[in-house]
Symmetry: C2
Subunit: 266 residues, 2 copies
DNA sequence: CGATAGCTTGAGCCCTATCAACAGCTGTGG
DNA sequence: CCACAGCTGTTGATAGGGCTCAAGCTATCG
């Protein structure tokens, strides 16, 4: 996975939240940052810590999780390249969740004070950051509805749809095919089910011809079928209809808009 | 439920997120607002609408809910006096949830542009608003962990603990007694269980001597027991330890701090 | 070539949903 | 004043989705 200039992913992602001015992009490019690598399962920010820097995903995938009853774990978010994983710590005293690498990942750390002073100088940048935060909140609500009111099959289908749309939005999925280093236990912890049952649900999705799913990656064979099973609608992700993020040249934003209406993406 | 000057509840609530300057308080007091009454079950903001004003609870309780599969409903938040129910719409195009009055309620509507210009002029006010938003996000994460990983008894216990602490923080509960106009169906929809099962869980909480619970209200008889059952810890609510909101004079903030550590509050 | 991590499968059981019926209370209208 | 409807709470019976325990399988890796 190539990274390019380290801040480009962040700019792309924020731009999907709100179009930026050239000076905003310059502010981001000027941010001091530390790049670090993490292996699968490594903890990047510990729950209850009070970090003084923000964690930006450059490549790979992170998860936010909370421990419940010392044995159980609930994943509350997945962070994809360009996402800021611990924005909350910028204003709240301690982080109420831990951040872990799912598979190996590359992240950039940006000191709070540098980010804060960039935001003080660039109002549209501030707005983009807050929008990302509000979109994350909308995603929590969507997960709440899904976990609270849908059965296991729908939960997993919904999660796969969300990840697919988000990965396409940052150019890491094409034609609804992508690879993602999560395990079935990660999926179980995100969907509030047991790992054994997650396995059975994945098999059922395969048997129904909705997805092709192996260790190499996931490829969605029947988008509208999967959308129907998961009750998915991409609106809560608030992806700008005009996000021009085509990674190599194809007009992939067409697919994304379709995904938003839950219509077949090809 | 007396309201006092309409903006006082909002000031108190924001002050719990971040201490305000006198000029901030003045900015709030100068906000133009429209006061409105709603009956039990009335919809205040419809899902998918794009409101141009924010909804502040003055008295009573609101819920945010999402519809799932046209028959199911998931409540994602309860809003208590002083809370802003639809902050998200200030920056995102449409609201991904509906807002409904639980019992009868009085709300104030504040136009977005007025709120925005007040925030432009008062940075600490802005910070307080964003903190409230981040606390709401932290609450979503806590609910996700609870609904995803705890059984029905824990979910209801956890919800009751949260509401108790939040009501005490705004002076609407004393000695862990409060009245709240929700129905068992509301509780079911918030906890992701059926209304029949919610009833059985409430009865179990009563039988265990944890709560006294009738149509008049709820009184928590065994705080530490309830906290243990619900796996509750108030830290995610980020209540300032110094919040001096004692409604009549008793030093209720001691109890609140205790509640945060999940130790007996009396 | 073991070892470890992840995936798969089976069996039994428990929590919770669903369906159904009834009681209590409140407001409405004749 | 009583009959009635509607909402909320309560209880019982039944069924099903998902958990737990347990074991076997597969693949990657040092």
């Amino acid at each position: 996975m190539e990274i390019g200039r380290p801040y480009s992913r962040l700019i792309h992602r924020l731009e999907a939240c709100r179009p930026l001015l050239p000076e905003d992009r310059q502010h981001i490019a000027d941010l001091p940052l530390t790049v670090a690598n993490f292996g699968a399962g490594q903890e990047i920010v510990r729950q209850d810590d009070a970090p003084t820097r923000c964690t930006v995903v450059l490549s790979g995938i992170l998860s936010a999780h909370k421990r419940v009853d010392r044995a159980q774990r609930q994943i509350t978010s997945f962070f994809l390249p360009g996402d800021i994983a611990d924005l909350s710590a910028l204003y709240l005293p301690a982080l109420d969740y831990g951040v872990t690498a799912v598979g190996s990942a590359v992240v950039a750390f940006v000191p709070h004070n540098a980010l804060q002073s960039a935001m003080d100088r660039a109002p549209t940048l501030t707005e983009a950051v807050w929008r990302q935060s509000l979109i994350q909140a909308a995603t929590f609500r969507e997960w709440l509805a899904t976990i609270g009111r849908r059965d296991a099959l729908s939960r997993v289908a919904h999660l796969v749809c969300e990840i697919a749309v988000r990965l396409q939005a940052v150019g890491l999925a094409r034609d609804l095919r992508f690879s993602i280093p999560w395990t079935q236990t990660d999926i179980a912890d995100a969907c509030g089910i047991s790992n054994v049952h997650a396995n059975r649900v994945v098999q059922k999705l395969r048997r129904r011809g909705l997805v092709e799913w192996n260790t190499q990656g996931i490829s969605i064979l029947d988008w509208s079928g999967l959308v129907a099973v998961g009750g998915f609608s991409a609106e809560y992700l608030a992806l700008a209809p005009s996000l021009s993020l085509a990674p190599v040249g194809k007009p992939i934003e067409m697919r994304l808009r379709d995904a938003g209406q839950a219509t077949p993406p090809a």
